[in-house]
């Protein structure tokens, strides 16, 4: 869908234009745990801060080289002024690495509003929702003070509705990936989800709705090949997906994924409760978790293998962002779990600032082994 591609390619222009058009504030979100519902309720546009996929040395004095390339790349964007139109940034506490980005951004990039939102590290702890609700009360107060107006229950309902509608629509699109011949490629799905984190979801929703009218009869003139799943760290590497789906000797299609720039971002809808902040808290605690929050039981694995079954996944690419501890910590058990499910895996350690071309031969070799296998 061209509009999604366009948005991803021109995300900064879009945000600047949105500001001009609406007079509203734009807030950059570090991590998908930021409760965007509250920002929409305050008529703020939340967008996710992504990297630029270019090596940069500006972060060297700020973040040690052993921290993940994604957190370094996002900070580089800030230090280089690529997000100079942001009015604020918010970090919802997830991994240690992102915290560094937040602190350095707060300290070195002039910006009106910064908020560190503490939240549980665990998705199975006693009292987690009540605790998170308490943090939302403080966050909401800070936002109200900043924008100079109260966030009413009606406004929260509006925020919830925008987010839930987007989630529902994305899930409807994902239904079309289940088919024997998926109606969309992995790249298109990636751009759908990525663009949703870059633009006003109300506009995004309208474009999805119109796409949904086309998808039922859509037939792609390409071979599906091996049905692949990506599991891993943050992943907005369009170049890699495009290469695997279109430029290798063996055909393949990414039919589903588990990462925070894909299905994990939108999969779970919010269930309304009388106490809106508690409802939002429950949504973020019950969603498919980031591995950093998934303990002592492994709830994420249930999601991964349910998806693998539903989308008839034949093999999985484990995309390990270099130095990403939360994912590395899951990797031994995850690889074993894939073995137990008889799904072959291939582990790729990648670095967002390194071109995807280096994986070509390895991916081809992997796909070749699967030709006999699947």
């Amino acid at each position: 869908m061209d509009q999604f591609t366009n948005w991803v390619d021109n995300r900064h222009e879009y945000a600047k234009e949105w500001k001009k058009r609406t007079g509203g504030k734009v807030v950059g979100c570090l991590c998908t745990y930021v409760p965007e519902e509250i920002l929409y309720a305050a008529d703020i546009l939340p967008i996710r801060i992504f990297g630029g996929h270019e090596p940069s040395s500006v972060v060297e004095p700020h973040i040690l080289g052993m921290f993940c390339p994604f957190c370094r790349d996002t900070l580089a964007q800030g230090l280089e002024g690529k997000y100079d139109y942001l009015d604020g940034i918010v970090l919802a506490q997830s991994c240690l690495h992102m915290r560094q980005t937040f602190w350095s951004w707060k300290k070195h990039v002039p910006i009106d509003f910064t908020y560190y939102l503490p939240m549980p590290h665990c998705n199975q702890a006693v009292g987690q929702n009540d605790y998170l609700r308490g943090e939302y009360v403080l966050f909401k107060e800070a936002v109200e003070k900043w924008v100079g107006q109260p966030i009413t229950t009606e406004a929260l309902d509006r925020g919830i509705d925008i987010m839930n509608t987007n989630r529902k629509l994305c899930k409807q699109v994902y239904e079309f990936r289940k088919a024997r011949k998926p109606a969309l490629t992995g790249l298109e799905a990636m751009e759908l989800v990525l663009s949703g984190q870059m633009v006003d979801k109300r506009e995004h929703n309208e474009v999805i709705k119109s796409w949904l009218t086309e998808l039922p009869g859509r037939e792609l003139k390409r071979e599906v090949g091996t049905r692949l799943m990506i599991v891993g760290s943050e992943d907005d590497d369009r170049e890699f997906v495009q290469m695997v789906e279109g430029k290798l000797a063996f055909p393949a299609t990414f039919v589903v994924e588990d990462h925070c720039t894909g299905a994990r971002y939108f999969w779970d809808e919010l269930v309304l409760q009388e106490d809106r902040l508690l409802a939002i808290a429950a949504r973020y605690m019950d969603r498919v978790p980031c591995p950093s929050k998934d303990w002592p039981e492994r709830k994420r694995f249930d999601f991964i293998f349910d998806m693998a079954k539903e989308y008839k996944v034949e093999a999985a690419v484990l995309m390990q962002q270099k130095f990403c501890d939360p994912h590395e910590l899951d990797m031994p058990s995850l690889t074993q779990a894939f073995k137990d499910h008889n799904i072959p895996t291939y582990l790729l350690e990648f670095d967002v600032t390194v071109p995807a071309g280096q994986f070509r031969i390895r991916m081809e070799a992997f796909l070749e082994t699967l030709v006999d296998f699947v």
Binding site: P61, H62, I63, L64, M66, F67, Q93, C95, L96, H97, R99, Q100, W103, S104, K107, Y116, P118, M119, P120, H121, C122, A125, V126, G127, Q128, D130, Y131, R133, G134, E135, L138, P291, S292, W295, P296, R298, Q320, K322, F323, D325, P326, E328, L329, D330, M331, P332, S333, T335, L347
Partner: protein, 447 residues
């Protein structure tokens, strides 16, 4: 380069408590090993755990805390290499926590090391895992272990916020209180033991006492000459991460505090040629502790401590001048602990005053702590170990470095790994430190 005569400036003498510390440490690891023979329980988890909550289960509960155990492994290079290789062979990432890889290696090899370097097999499987979680690695470490060791039970206390110098909001406090009360119920059910609330209160008071006494000992190190050097402190602070809730530990800390106070009174130095005081940051590269001795001998440069060795499992407050003082224990404050809930609430409140754990949530607090230590402990420089083995303590270090520089405090940062000696270039680091010292005008001592 100018040299100065090797003149002894201060009297020195060995620390009398040293042998007791050695004995206690050896006993700790052996107690864990032998717990089942004595009908006791084995519990493993992070050295940042909420120890006192185990107190109510009885006095035969023995802990093995992952980080200090792994530091012992790291000290014995041959065993550490075996562990690292086992982990790498299993496809586990080489950039994970250096401690975790030593520990997981032992599990994979089915081998356990004692403090004197004796390696025994099999690996002593714990009865349960009980941990806290601050760093991304803490609970995930034991999640893997529980699977690898046969589906063992695990409970983790999530601490998502650490105020240090702020009062916690009701929700923040309650979250940890509720999890702690949940842990007690869980343990009771799991072990079939009756949980004893009196023993809980005793353990809380003892743990708080251990913390307070070590804090007092650190404060004594403000004296010139320093009665303790940091290399020695590494073997002393550790009990607060092993079993601070045990009476033998608190009693040891009391004797140690008294001995150190007496050293200060008599002007006894850790190092007779103390001419230059510095502080460090993060865990040291354990396989290369001799660096500290080299700097003492060559420059009379003594590390008097760090946020790490003062702050790990130790709780702090401020005095009127803004300097650190050990946080008063619930007992000293006269906090009521008549019910289990009250006791747990008092304990959590106390734990939230921890000195180092706040670095996971705010790098500026750590910079501020470093500057306060430099000022109050009269240090002249900071050596930051950019620790590739611990993302938990490496977090914020680059910003800390910038903050110190901005404050005009000489700082040198060098890379290494506390748990993996292969990632530490000792020669290069030594020559960088020497260049740094010489640039600061510190004269070599003639030998």
């Amino acid at each position: 380069m100018t040299t100065v005569a090797n003149k002894t400036l201060y009297p020195t003498e060995p620390l009398k408590s040293w042998n007791e510390a050695k004995y206690l440490r050896a006993k700790y690891y052996e107690d864990f090993l032998k717990a089942p023979e004595r009908g006791g329980l084995r519990v493993s988890g992070s050295g940042t755990m909420y120890f006192a909550l185990l107190g109510g289960l009885g006095k035969d509960v023995h802990t093995l805390t992952g980080e200090p155990y792994a530091a012992t492994c790291a000290f014995y290079q041959d065993f550490s290499t075996e562990c690292m290789e086992a982990v790498e062979k299993a496809g586990i990432a080489r950039d994970l926590c250096g401690y975790l890889r030593n520990y997981w290696g032992g599990v994979l090899l089915d081998k356990y090391i004692l403090t004197d370097g004796t390696v025994v097999s099999p690996w002593p499987r714990p009865d349960l895992f009980f941990t806290s979680h601050y760093c991304c690695t803490h609970a995930k470490w034991y999640q893997w272990c529980r699977e690898a060791e046969g589906n063992l039970p695990m409970y983790g206390i999530d601490v998502p916020w650490h105020p240090f110098d702020h009062e916690p909001t009701k929700e923040r406090l309650e979250y940890i209180v509720q999890q702690s009360l949940g842990a007690i119920e869980w343990m009771e059910k799991l072990t079939g033991r009756k949980y004893d609330d009196e023993l809980l209160v005793e353990a809380i008071n003892t743990e708080a006492r251990s913390s307070y006494l070590w804090g007092e000992t650190c404060v004594l190190n403000k004296a010139i000459p320093a009665p303790l050097d940091e290399k020695t402190m590494f073997s002393l602070y550790v009990f607060n991460t092993l079993c601070p809730h045990l009476k033998e530990v608190a009693d040891f800390y009391e004797r140690l505090r008294d001995e150190v106070a007496e050293r200060v009174q008599r002007g006894i130095a850790a190092w007779p040629n103390e001419r230059f005081r510095y502080i460090t940051d993060s865990q040291p590269p354990w396989a290369f502790l001799h660096i500290f001795r080299h700097l003492e001998r060559t420059y009379g440069a003594v590390s008097v401590g760090s946020v790490y060795s003062y702050g790990l499992q130790v709780n702090w407050d401020f005095d009127e001048e803004g300097s650190f003082v050990p946080a008063k224990t619930p007992e000293m404050l006269g906090v009521k602990m008549d019910t289990r809930e009250d006791a747990v609430r008092a304990y959590v409140n106390f734990k939230l005053k921890n000195g180092i754990l706040c670095r996971f949530y705010d790098s500026e607090v750590t910079s501020d702590q470093m500057m306060k230590i430099v000022k109050n402990w009269k240090a002249q420089a900071v050596l930051i170990h950019l620790n590739r083995g611990c993302e938990g303590t490496a977090i914020g270090q680059m910003e800390n470095r910038l903050d110190l520089m901005k404050a005009g405090i000489p700082v040198l940062a060098f890379e290494g790994n506390m748990g993996d000696y292969r990632e530490f270039d000792v020669q290069r680091t030594m020559s960088r430190i020497e260049t740094f010292f010489e640039a600061l005008g510190i004269q070599r001592i003639e030998t």
